[in-house]
Symmetry: C3
Subunit: 177 residues, 3 copies
Amino acid sequence: MPPDAARIVALVISDRASRGEYQDLGGPAIAQWLAQNLTSAYELEIRIIADGRDHVAAELQRLCDEDNAALVLTTGGTGPAPRDETPEAMRDIVEKELPGFGELMRRRSLEEVPTAILSRQTAGTRGKTLIVNLPGKPAAIRTCLDAVFTAIPYCLDLIGAARLETGGNLGETFRPR
Amino acid sequence: MPPDAARIVALVISDRASRGEYQDLGGPAIAQWLAQNLTSAYELEIRIIADGRDHVAAELQRLCDEDNAALVLTTGGTGPAPRDETPEAMRDIVEKELPGFGELMRRRSLEEVPTAILSRQTAGTRGKTLIVNLPGKPAAIRTCLDAVFTAIPYCLDLIGAARLETGGNLGETFRPR
Amino acid sequence: MPPDAARIVALVISDRASRGEYQDLGGPAIAQWLAQNLTSAYELEIRIIADGRDHVAAELQRLCDEDNAALVLTTGGTGPAPRDETPEAMRDIVEKELPGFGELMRRRSLEEVPTAILSRQTAGTRGKTLIVNLPGKPAAIRTCLDAVFTAIPYCLDLIGAARLETGGNLGETFRPR
């Protein structure tokens, strides 16, 4: 990849997908959305791991501290079911939570499905990495990325991460001032 | 009640109502709303207790762990006044908070009264029980139940609680897929 | 000031402004907005301090416990940048968080700028003081005050603080019942 390419990780959090019992569709949906809307250089890695609070928290911490990802997009584990612990794992390791992401993603998703309020998805930063939780279903992933991605390049600027440029349906990158 | 009837508790949290100085209107408003919108078997108990964080937390925990309630609807104690400690009591005992409930209830209530943002109401799960905080006034209770109840039957499915079916003004039960 | 004048503090939180490297515009924007919309007696003090979680928390606590401010309006330090720690400082000292303030300020600000979701601003009470976080830019300050101030006089009533009356573009004070 070019030396200044932004490192992005799609972290698929699913017991069944991690055991190969289920074909993950979340990672590919994220890949397709990024391909259609990012115009600057980036490298995307899709990783699939099992649910579990400590396990997910450790992987998120590693992606921030050792892997130098600029952006981690998780998919799965945000609902109220017993194995859904992605938000708890997030809070265990982020330094700053950004509640506006979850609020807006739920609000836009609610226009499509009345159970959107069950999602506990949030976002936060640790060092120079922004982590955003996405739902598991491809249609919901696209709705959420459409809702919040416009704010992501400037957020990465503020935390000193890689510079991103957008285009496509999302439009040109917005940076205040 | 039928063996598969859902157990629902309306927990009225009010110093004055618990001392009999005030005729509680919140419990009856919840009872009427449920009667008009639930079409499956349920058993409703209205309990009235005093405010107080430890006291309310202990009662909520008992309703989850020993009383096997599928759904607890609290009313009262969500504002900024000194004795309003229902959200703190909730957080002391829930395993997962569901912030989308509070966000949506405040948003819909705000269309009716500009002080709706003072409500700190939230929702959360503990084991196989969902707890939702409602305001104290009957009109506000109805606004909030209208706003979020559509997501409740599927939430109960996800946590392994009783199955609910809705009708009336709320419409048929929504379950994704 | 009249004996019953409400004490209001605009707390400007900015490393650069506190060192005199930057002319603060947030404090004057708050002063102008209050002058245009409050009709009851109040005393406003504008204080400028550096960023820093412990430092800001200590100053907020002092304003609540010793200075008897009815209302503290902070400006600055709510974003995701490393020195933005106002919400963390808030949570260290408030007794009750009021999430509806942050939700509504972000929602209204989002109508003006897509990066509004990056603001982590919130509100909360400690004893008889309400603290509300505002952004740093004058236009954003006005948007946020327009959004939430209608709920502030009644909130001050509920916590036993000074009585405020509003007018101007905001309209007459709203108090339920």
